[in-house]
C-alpha cells in the first residue's frame, strides 16, 4: 500500500531564519549564482515566503517555508513531455530522472507553487525529500536543521499524531498537494 509522505508546517514556529533554505542548498549542493549575476539567486528548492497583513501597529506577519508539495496528482508530471517526472510507488515522493529531462521548462510553468528549479546545466531539479538521507534513516536536511521546529514530515498517520490535538488543514488544490498547515492559535 502506498504510504504517501507529506510535509507538516507550523507557521506559529517559523521565524524566517533561512536555516531550511541553506540546509537544503548544502545537502543538495545547489550552486549560488550571486557571484556571476549579482542580485540573482541560484536554484532554491526550498524558500521562505513572507505574508504581511493589516496595518501598523496591528499588522501580522507570517512566514511560510515551501518546497515541492509532492502532489498526489502533480501538474509537473502531467506537463512533462519526456516522462522525466514520476511518483515513487512506495512513498509518493515526486522525483525526476535527469537522463530523461530535456530542459523544456514546461514543469515550471505548470507548477502552481514554483517548485521546479533550473540548474546551471539547464535541467530541472527540485526537492526529493532528501531521498539519500531518508534511505540512511536520517531526516530531510530542512527538517533536521529547522531552528523553530516548524517543518516536519511523515505519512498521514504520523502527521495526525504530530498534530497532537491542534487544528491542521491540508492545502487545498486540484493537484492534491501533500502539505499540511497547522492552524494559528
Amino acid at each position: 500500500m502506498l504510504k504517501q509522505l507529506a510535509f507538516l508546517f507550523d507557521p506559529t514556529r517559523c521565524i524566517n531564519c533561512y536555516s531550511c533554505e541553506i540546509a537544503c542548498k548544502q545537502e543538495n549542493a545547489l550552486p549560488p549564482l550571486v557571484d556571476a549575476q549579482p542580485g540573482t539567486t541560484g536554484p532554491r528548492w526550498r524558500r521562505v515566503i513572507t505574508l504581511e497583513e493589516g496595518v501598523y501597529p496591528d499588522a501580522r506577519v507570517w512566514y511560510i517555508s515551501m518546497s515541492c508539495m509532492h502532489c498526489g496528482d502533480p501538474d509537473c508530471m502531467k506537463s512533462c513531455p519526456s516522462g522525466a517526472i514520476s511518483k515513487r510507488a512506495e512513498d509518493g515522493i515526486a522525483v525526476r530522472d535527469a537522463k530523461k529531462c530535456i530542459g523544456c521548462r514546461f514543469c515550471s510553468w505548470a507548477c502552481r507553487f514554483g517548485a521546479p528549479q533550473f540548474g546551471t546545466d539547464g535541467h530541472m531539479e527540485k526537492c526529493n525529500l532528501c531521498l539519500g538521507l531518508l534511505e540512511k534513516g536520517e531526516l530531510p536536511a530542512c527538517v533536521a536543521s529547522c531552528a523553530g521546529g516548524a517543518i516536519q514530515f511523515g505519512t498521514v498517520d504520523e502527521i495526525s499524531q504530530k498534530v497532537s490535538g491542534r487544528a491542521a488543514m491540508k492545502l487545498a488544490g486540484a493537484t492534491d498537494p501533500q502539505f499540511y498547515l497547522l492552524a494559528a492559535r
Binding site: R13, I15, G54, Y56, G149
Partner: protein, 710 residues
C-alpha cells in the same frame, strides 16, 4: 569519509556540530542531534561552513604593505619575516615611549572565550593594557547586572518557564537554535511577549507584541517597578531578607518622585515617553510579577543607548523585587565558565600586589587597579580592556604609536568611520590579524592571516542563550593556507618578543591545560568527550542561600558601587543622545528615528557578506519604512533613497513594511555599501560604561530614483 563532532563558532552561541570530511576536505556540517541545547538545529550561518572554509577571498599569507597606505598593494612575506618585523617595531615603541604607545585591540570575531583569555595573558606578559577594537556591547549591560546581584543570569530556564518576555532581543538573529525550546514553552501553555521596535522574525511569532519608542526601555522598566511596588506585588520575603533595601523604603521613595529630577515614574509618565499605554504597562508588570516561572530576556536592542547600564540595572531590579532572580523557570545565575587558574594570566606583572581569587570566571580579568588613561573603570574591571572612547583618544593625541588588532573591523563598525580611519592613520605602525581584507586592513602595514573557527582547536564554554555550564572542545577540521589562530599568532609573537618564560610552548594544548589547572578535568578528558564536560550545576535560589559578593553581602537594590563612584545608586531616567524629546529643534529638520541593529539572521555584524549562499538571500542593504510614511514621502518599495543625519548620508533601497512605526526607519548594520555608522553618533557615551549611542539617531529620508532608475 570521516565525521567529527565539534562546536560551531560562527557566532557566540556555540552550537554543537557534526562535520563530514572527505580526504581532508570539509564537505558538510550539520547540527548535532545529541546537543541538548539545539536538538540538532543549526542556523543558516553554521550551515554555510563549507563556503566559509573555502572562501577564495580569504587572506591566506602574511602580507606587508608596499606603496602608500590605502593603495591596497601587498607583498607576500613569510611568518618569520612578518613576526620579526612586528616584534622589533613593538619593542622599539615600547622602549622609547612606554607601554601606552602600544594599542592591542580586541574585536568580537574570534570570540570572548579562550582566544580572548590568551590575549589577556599576552598583554600582561608584554606589560601593556589591551583595548576594545569594536563597539562596546553586552558588557555595559553586564555591568548593570553584576553590580546588582554579582553575576548575569544567562541561563533562561525554558524547561520550566511559563512567561518569556523578550526585551530588545531578536532570537532569530542571535541564538536561533534555541527557538524550539522557546516555542515549547508556549506548547505547554506559556506565553511569549516581545517588546521591540520592529515586529519581525521571532517578534512576529509573539503572543503579545509591544512596540516601544527606541531607547526608552529605562522608562518602561521604572514604571513597571512602580506598579509592582505600589500594588504590593513584590516578594517581601526575598527583598526583606536578602537585599539592601528591606521594605523597599528607598526604592519606593525614589519611584515616587524622591529622585534628583523629582519625577514620579508612573505608567502615565512612561506612556508619554515609551508610547506604550499605561494600562499595557500595568498589565505587563502584573503578569511578570505574578507568574511563577517568568524570564526577562534582554538583548542588543537595549544596548547602544547611552542609558544602557541604568536600563540594565532597572531590569535587574524587576527580577529582584519580584523574587524571580535565580528561581525555577526564571533567569538563573550559572557558572559562566570553568574556574580558571589565576596563574594563567600573569596579572601580577601588571599589578604587583595582585591577590589570587578563589573563583575566576567568564572574562577572566580580576584586576583591581585602574590603568593610566582609563575613564571607564567599571568596564575595565569587567572586561580588562580600555573602552573605545579611550582607545580613540589615545590614537588621536598620538599617545598610541603602534596598533595590533584581532577579530575586529573598527573602521566600519564604530560610529564616525571616517574619523576612526583618520585616528588609525595617525598611528605609525598598524598590524591587523584578519580573515579578509577590510577597511581596517586598508590602513595596515602588516596583515596576518587569521584562522576561522573551523581551523583551530580550543575549549568553548561561551554561549549566547540557554547557558548550560558545559565546556566542549572545538576541533581543528582543516588548514587554510598559512592561516593561524589568533592565540597561536600571539604565542609566536610573544616568543619573538623574548617572552618564552610566559609562553614556554608553541603547542596550544599546553595553554588549555594551564588555564584549567584548577578544574577537575584534564585536556585528555575534554578531547575524548563528544558531549562536553559539565563544569558547574544549574541551581536555584543561590542568592538567598549564599549571599552575594557585593558591598554588604546582599543583593544591591541600591547600588553601593555606583553611589561610591558618584553615579545614581537607583536608576534615574535620562534620554538618549538624539531624539524628538532630547533634540526638538534638530527633530524639525531630521524628523525620523533612524534605527540600526543586527544585520539579519544570516549575517554577524559586518561579516559573512562574501558567503554566496548567505549573500543571495539579502544581496544588498535596505532601509525599512512604514508604507504610510512612504506614501507621504513619495517612496515605494525598491526605490533608491537617501538617508541623511546631521553627520552624513547613505544611499540604499527602500523596503516598505507595516512592521515598523511610521516615525522610525531601520537600516540593518554592518554593510560596507551603506554603513549606518556614517549616520551615527560617536561622541555621546554612557558615563558609566562608555557605551556609545550607535543604534539610533535623528534622520530624514528622500527618494533619489524609482525602481530600475539610476
Amino acid at each position: 569519509m570521516q565525521t567529527i563532532k565539534s562546536v560551531c563558532g560562527r557566532c557566540h552561541n556555540s552550537c554543537r556540530i557534526i562535520a563530514t570530511l572527505e580526504n581532508g576536505t570539509l564537505v558538510k556540517v550539520k547540527g548535532d542531534p545529541d546537543d541538548p541545547r539545539t536538538q540538532g538545529a543549526l542556523c543558516s550561518k553554521g550551515l554555510s561552513a563549507t563556503q566559509i572554509a573555502y572562501d577564495p577571498r580569504r587572506v591566506i599569507h602574511p602580507l606587508r604593505r608596499v606603496g602608500p597606505r590605502g593603495d591596497g598593494k601587498w607583498q607576500k612575506i613569510s611568518w618569520d619575516e612578518a613576526l620579526t618585523e612586528v616584534a622589533d617595531k613593538l619593542k622599539g615603541y615600547k622602549e622609547k615611549y612606554g607601554q601606552r604607545s602600544i594599542g592591542f585591540y580586541r574585536g568580537q570575531a574570534a570570540g570572548w572565550g579562550f582566544q580572548y583569555l590568551m590575549f589577556q595573558r599576552f598583554c600582561n606578559a608584554f606589560g601593556i593594557v589591551g583595548g576594545m577594537g569594536t563597539s562596546e556591547c553586552f558588557v555595559p549591560r553586564v555591568i548593570g547586572e553584576v553590580i546588582t546581584y554579582g553575576g548575569i543570569p544567562l541561563y533562561s530556564d525554558y524547561d520550566n518557564a511559563k512567561l518569556l518576555i523578550f526585551w530588545g532581543r531578536q532570537p532569530a538573529f542571535s541564538g536561533a537554535t534555541q527557538m524550539r525550546k522557546i516555542f515549547d514553552v508556549r506548547d505547554r501553555g506559556g506565553k511569549i511577549v516581545f517588546i521591540d521596535t520592529l515586529q519581525f522574525h521571532a517578534g512576529a511569532r509573539a503572543d503579545q507584541f509591544i512596540f516601544i519608542e527606541p531607547g526608552t526601555d529605562l522608562a518602561l522598566a521604572l514604571a513597571m517597578l512602580m506598579v509592582i511596588v505600589e500594588e504590593d506585588l513584590w516578594d517581601h520575603e526575598f527583598v526583606n531578607n536578602h537585599t539592601n533595601d528591606p521594605g523597599l523604603r528607598q526604592l519606593r521613595e525614589h519611584l515616587n518622585g524622591g529622585n534628583r529630577d523629582g519625577v514620579t515614574y508612573s505608567p502615565e509618565w512612561a506612556e508619554k515617553i515609551t508610547g506604550i499605554g499605561a494600562n499595557v504597562i500595568r498589565n505587563l508588570a502584573h503578569e511578570y510579577a505574578t507568574t511563577s516561572g517568568a524570564c526577562l530576556l534582554t538583548g542588543h536592542g537595549l544596548e547602544a543607548h547611552i542609558n544602557i547600564t541604568q536600563t540594565a540595572r532597572a531590569i535587574a531590579l524587576l527580577r529582584v523585587v519580584t523574587g524571580h532572580i535565580d528561581q525555577k523557570g526564571c533567569d538563573v545565575l550559572v557558572p559562566p565558565s570553568p574556574n580558571y587558574n589565576p596563574k594563567f594570566f600573569f596579572n601580577h606583572l601588571m599589578e604587583p600586589g595582585y591577590q589570587e581569587p578563589a573563583d575566576l570566571r567568564l572574562f577572566g580579568n580580576s584586576h583591581s587597579f585602574i590603568p593610566e588613561g582609563c575613564r571607564y573603570p567599571l568596564l575595565f574591571m569587567m572586561q580588562g580592556l580600555h573602552a573605545t572612547p579611550d582607545v580613540l583618544r589615545d590614537l588621536r593625541d598620538n599617545t598610541t604609536k603602534a596598533t595590533f588588532t584581532q577579530g575586529g573591523n573598527p573602521l566600519r563598525m564604530l560610529p564616525n568611520p571616517k574619523g576612526v580611519r583618520d585616528a588609525f592613520l595617525k598611528a605609525e605602525f598598524n598590524v591587523v590579524c584578519e580573515l579578509y581584507h577590510t577597511e581596517t586592513t586598508s590602513v595596515a602595514d602588516i596583515v596576518l592571516p587569521a584562522a576561522s573557527y573551523l581551523e583551530r582547536t580550543e575549549p568553548e564554554w561561551f554561549k549566547y542563550d540557554y547557558w548550560l555550564p558545559v565546556v566542549n572542545l572545538r576541533r581543528q577540521l582543516i588548514q587554510i593556507g598559512e592561516c593561524k589562530s589568533d592565540s597561536q599568532i600571539l604565542v609566536d609573537l610573544a616568543r619573538k618578543l623574548g617572552l618564552e618564560e610566559y609562553f614556554p610552548s608553541d603547542d596550544m594544548t599546553y595553554y588549555i591545560e594551564d588555564l584549567f589547572a584548577r578544574e577537575n578535568f584534564t585536556y585528555k578528558e575534554l578531547e575524548g568527550s563528544e558531549n562536553g564536560i559539565m563544569f558547574g550545576p544549574v541551581m536555584y535560589n543561590k542568592l538567598a542561600q549564599f549571599g552575594v559578593d557585593l558591598p554588604g553581602g546582599k543583593v544591591n537594590i541600591v547600588s553601593v558601587i555606583l553611589e561610591s563612584m558618584g553615579f545614581d545608586g537607583l536608576p534615574v531616567y535620562y534620554e538618549g543622545s538624539e531624539n524628538r524629546r532630547s533634540k526638538p529643534e534638530l527633530a524639525k529638520e531630521y524628523p525620523l528615528n533612524g534605527l540600526s541593529g543586527r544585520a539579519g539572521p544570516q549575517y554577524v555584524h559586518c561579516q559573512l557578506r562574501t558567503i554566496p549562499w548567505l549573500r543571495e538571500i539579502t544581496p544588498e542593504p535596505f532601509v525599512l519604512i512604514n508604507p504610510a510614511k512612504g506614501q507621504e514621502l513619495g517612496i515605494k518599495s525598491n526605490d533608491l533613497v537617501l538617508v541623511e543625519s546631521p553627520r552624513g548620508s547613505i544611499k540604499l533601497k527602500a523596503h516598505l513594511t507595516e512592521t515598523i512605526n511610521p516615525l522610525s526607519v531601520y537600516v540593518p548594520g554592518g554593510w560596507e555599501e551603506a554603513n549606518y555608522n556614517v549616520l551615527g553618533i560617536e561622541e555621546d557615551v554612557c558615563p558609566i560604561s562608555s557605551q556609545a549611542n550607535y543604534l539610533q539617531c535623528l534622520c530624514r529620508v528622500s527618494r533619489i530614483s524609482e525602481e530600475g532608475g539610476h
